[in-house]
């Protein structure tokens, strides 16, 4: 049973995967920060840092073409995107809070409408998760039911061991397939002791209670109090592993152009702006309320999961210091 891999071999595995024609996405240095990006080789993999953006764009790109059109001599032709061109991908080094997200999003992307773009990428991607060894006071995965050792969502899950090795758990058939194919990189030694994992300090929240409170407090003054300061940017949504709203835009001219799908954020005022000029979510507290409602109530109502893995990215990134964990803690203080 191959169950460990050295760091050296992990990097060598990346080299081989790339050579074999896979797209390998993993944490990579981009200037002063780390981002999930395609790796050209194993040396590019950065370990132990939470990338600035989540890994969701491996499946749900920032922006992608979904069709193109052209009008010639009065006749319109539409060309679909050939999804078979999407490369087979290995997402490597995804931290638990990122690796867990696609599992949550599958529900919505395969619900009444099968989003072939998402699903095709999902189908072609194997996720190699990595347990988390470094957290800060913005992290709160433990508060929303995840943990630094959470393997949910990964096909293969790596646990760092002393001496530069990783214990790998094979979670799914996809994971098994990959390990089988690249068996030589793995060893079946036990390896050393597990390295200490990170310990986010926040206590577990009663998500059920929060959901119930939300149910009854659509029109609470609470929203104004916490979100009056919200500036309405999309930073929180865009770097969130679970936010998945998108907009569709045609770009080009009457004669020729492309239809594109790209990330959208409920914090934007134009998110709900009607053609008439009327905006049902006219002020920022209403928009922020939707963010919380969607994450902790609507999605739960519909799919039985909350849209938050506690990665803390939004807490770090919010220009005006809105702290979603603090908001949840606030809600917890209220009587039902």
């Amino acid at each position: 049973m191959p169950n460990t891999i050295t760091e050296q071999n992990l990097r060598a595995l990346i080299d081989t995967l790339v050579k074999d024609g896979s797209r390998v996405v993993g944490p990579k240095a981009a200037g002063d920060m780390t981002l999930y990006e395609p790796l050209a080789g194993g040396t590019e993999l950065v370990l132990g840092v939470l990338p600035r953006r989540s890994a969701k764009e491996t499946f749900f790109p920032l922006c992608e073409d979904i069709l193109s059109y052209q009008k010639m001599e009065g006749k319109m032709t539409v060309e679909d995107i050939d999804l078979s061109r999407l490369p087979s991908t290995v997402l490597i080094g995804a931290l638990p809070c990122d690796a867990a997200a696609p599992g949550i999003l599958d529900a919505v992307f395969s619900w009444d409408y099968q989003d072939e773009f998402y699903l095709e990428r999902r189908k072609k991607t194997t996720i190699i998760g990595l347990a988390c060894t470094k957290s800060d006071d913005a992290c709160f995965c433990t508060a929303v039911g995840y943990s630094p050792a959470e393997s949910r969502g990964s096909d293969i899950f790596l646990l760092p061991l002393e001496g530069g090795r990783y214990r790998c758990q094979i979670i799914s058939d996809k994971g098994n397939l990959l390990v089988e194919r690249y068996k030589s990189f793995f060893t079946d030694e036990e390896g050393g002791n597990a390295l200490p994992l990170s310990q986010p300090s926040m206590e577990k929240l009663d998500l059920q209670k929060i959901r119930e409170w939300l149910e009854n407090n659509f029109e609470s003054d609470f929203w104004k109090e916490i979100a009056e300061r919200c500036v309405g940017c999309g930073a929180c949504a865009f770097i969130c592993p679970a936010c998945h709203c998108f907009d569709i835009n045609d770009e080009g001219s009457e004669g020729k152009g492309v239809r594109r799908k790209h990330w959208d954020a409920c914090g934007f005022s134009k998110f709900t702006n009607h053609a008439s000029g009327h905006n049902p979510r006219d002020v920022q507290p209403q928009r922020y309320r939707n963010r919380i409602m969607h994450k902790f109530k609507y999605y739960d109502d519909k799919f039985g999961q909350t849209l938050c893995t506690g990665c803390g990215r939004c807490v770090r990134a919010c220009p005006v210091g809105i702290d979603i964990a603090a908001v949840l803690q606030e809600i917890m203080k209220y009587e039902l």
């Binding site: 981009a30 200037g31 002063d32 920060m33 981002l35 600035r52 953006r53 920032l62 922006c63 800060d136 006071d137 913005a138 104004k224 009056e228 300061r229 500036v231 309405g232 940017c233 999309g234 930073a235 949504a237 865009f238 770097i239 835009n249 770009e251 594109r260 790209h262 990330w263 954020a265 934007f268 134009k270 006219d282 002020v283 920022q284 507290p285 807490v315 770090r316 990134a317 220009p319 005006v320 210091g321 809105i322 702290d323 964990a325 603090a326 803690q329």
Partner: protein
Amino acid sequence: MNNTKENTTPLVDNSYYEAVTTAIRSEARRVMESGEVSAVIGYKSGRRKGSAQPVIISDVSRIDELVFAPTCTNNLSLYLTKAKKEVSKKGKIAIVAKGCDLKALAGLMSESQLKRENLHLIGISCAGVHGSNVKPSEALSAATIARKCRECTVHVPEGVDCIAGTLPQLEQLSALESAELERLEAMSPAGRWAFWKEQFSRCIRCMACRQVCPFCYCEQCLCDRNRPQGVETTPRPAGNMGWHIVRAMHLAGRCAGCAECERSCPMDIPLNLLNRKMANELKELYGQEAGMQPQEKGPLATYKEDDDESFIK
């Protein structure tokens, strides 16, 4: 964007922050209790140790929530603009303003967005604030201070109604931003293009730069317009480049240099370099720059018959 090699020794003593906090609270209490103002816009602490966030207080009993700390980075003048319609602007409002924020307030007054008589300005003798990606609990040090603060010329605000705190002795810090500007200016056009292309390629169009900007108070941003579409709205390299050029151009002659755009960018794009560059150019061309007093007309709203035209054939 902080230089990790920099010294982490605290630049100022904690007693300075305590004094500023006390001064803000006492002034805010005075004007609230006398009924002079209907609300105070200031900072309060957040969950994470040392963190702060903007707060709008209209209830005297909450005055003691007000604080001042190195994490009080926000330019609060934003909350007085039309972009923030959820904030009631009825009557006179007190606002906590650092020197750089004050320049934005002056700019907004120049653009008929604010009236001085409707504001009670609580100025801060400001030693500087954190840059981006700094852990809130860290002290203000050469390593954590914002790049803009290293070259601050407005530590003590002018023309305010009260000044909170006294400025401690400050260490002279190296001018990293100027140095970076010089480095870019010395590059070839192709080099600069490569630099910005790389920077903008990271942009995700979250619009944080726009949303935190006190001067981006347009009802509809040009870049949200689709008939006609001047700038592509999708986060692709073409539209990103377009957006940042338009943004810099629209702020030229208006930007007060608070660098909130740069601090707020989750992708660490050094946006203030663009703003700073434009401000330098306009100052050199037309001798005008953002100051702590409102100007009747900004450099691009006016002209002189003998303006430079050496670039025109």
